[in-house]
């Protein structure tokens, strides 16, 4: 009986010790997509952008942004609440030189609960598909994903963390970010 009690106490202690780390890991995983390596695609690509700053590197990157530069100042406001910005972008010299299956595997992950598609565009004429997804939790955007594929180019963007849509809005006209009609969840409450 005493041995069983000891085992229970040990298990409880283990749970108490590992729970915060597990919760942090879950928080980090929320909104994070499993992006394929795209190693074969990168070999064929004429131009590649592969950005993978995790939370630690993102924090360093944010600190190094120059607040005197308006573009970087707005980026700094946006990135302080982010945990990761992941971009895979490839350009090719010929049409459809990339396998669509890799892109579809990412698109399938976005059918998980919480993700909402806010833009879906299919152009058969231009062979261009664009999807924009937002992960909403407690009326807050906790993740953003963009999948855009064109005949000679495809891009996957995954932004993880609390995205202040007001700040994203502030980037309009600076990075060429257009007004997508994304409204912050705060706005209706403020009107009351």
């Amino acid at each position: 009986m005493k041995r069983i009690l000891n085992i229970h106490v040990a298990l409880l202690a283990t749970v108490l010790v590992t729970a915060p780390a597990f919760a942090q890991s879950v928080a980090l995983q929320r909104g994070l997509l499993r992006l394929p390596e795209f190693a074969r695609v990168a070999d064929k690509a004429s131009e590649t952008v592969n950005v993978t700053p995790g939370s630690k590197l993102l924090g360093i990157a944010c600190r190094f942004l120059d607040t005197n530069d308006p573009e970087e100042a707005d980026a700094k406001k946006l990135c302080t609440s982010l945990r990761g910005v992941f971009v895979r972008s490839f350009k090719f010299d010929e049409d459809f030189a990339y396998p669509k299956s890799d892109i579809d595997s990412v698109r399938r992950q976005l059918s998980a609960p919480g993700w909402s598609r806010i833009v879906e565009s299919r152009s058969k004429k231009e062979h261009t598909d664009v999807d924009v997804f937002v992960l909403i939790e407690n009326d807050k955007a906790m993740g953003l994903a963009i999948i855009a594929n064109q005949p000679r180019e495809f891009t996957i963007v995954n932004i993880v963390g609390a995205i202040d849509l007001e700040n994203l809005h502030d980037l309009e006209g600076k990075f060429g970010v257009p007004n997508l009609g994304i409204e912050s969840a705060k706005k209706p409450a403020e009107k009351k």
Partner: protein, 130 residues
């Protein structure tokens, strides 16, 4: 007269035997014999002297060596710190450039989405004429 004086002096200064046991009585009357004091010499033996003169030079040499060592250690530590700071700065600048690139790509694709959702209005006849 002088002979008489001489005779009298001779008689007075004649050799007389000591009374019986005088020597023992004198020895018995003497105080007890004190133990001899032990004196240790502080002067090292002549053979040790050359070693002492070597030690005299070794101390300043050791001090000078530790001083030089401390300076070299300080220079090395400062160099290492500068390298770490430079590496961290380079990493931070590279990360910030990557972040700006990522945000630019994001904005380009959001722009593409915007154009797909809101295509530009068709040109009017008047615009076509101009």
């Amino acid at each position: 007269m002088t002979e008489d004086l001489e005779n009298r002096m001779r008689r007075a200064m004649r050799k007389v035997d000591a009374p019986e046991g005088l020597a023992d009585r004198i020895l018995a009357a003497l105080p007890p014999r004190a133990a001899p004091a032990i004196v240790t010499t502080l002067v090292p033996p002549p053979a040790a002297r050359p070693a002492r003169s070597g030690w005299r030079h070794a101390m300043p040499a050791a001090l000078a060596a530790s001083f030089v060592g401390a300076i070299l250690l300080g220079v090395f530590a400062a160099d290492q710190r500068d390298r770490i700071v430079a590496a961290r700065d380079a990493e931070g600048e590279a990360a910030s450039r990557a972040l700006m690139d990522a945000l630019r790509v994001t904005s380009q694709k959001l722009d593409l989405a915007y154009q797909a959702v809101n295509p530009p209005p068709p040109a009017t006849d008047e615009e076509n004429r101009t």
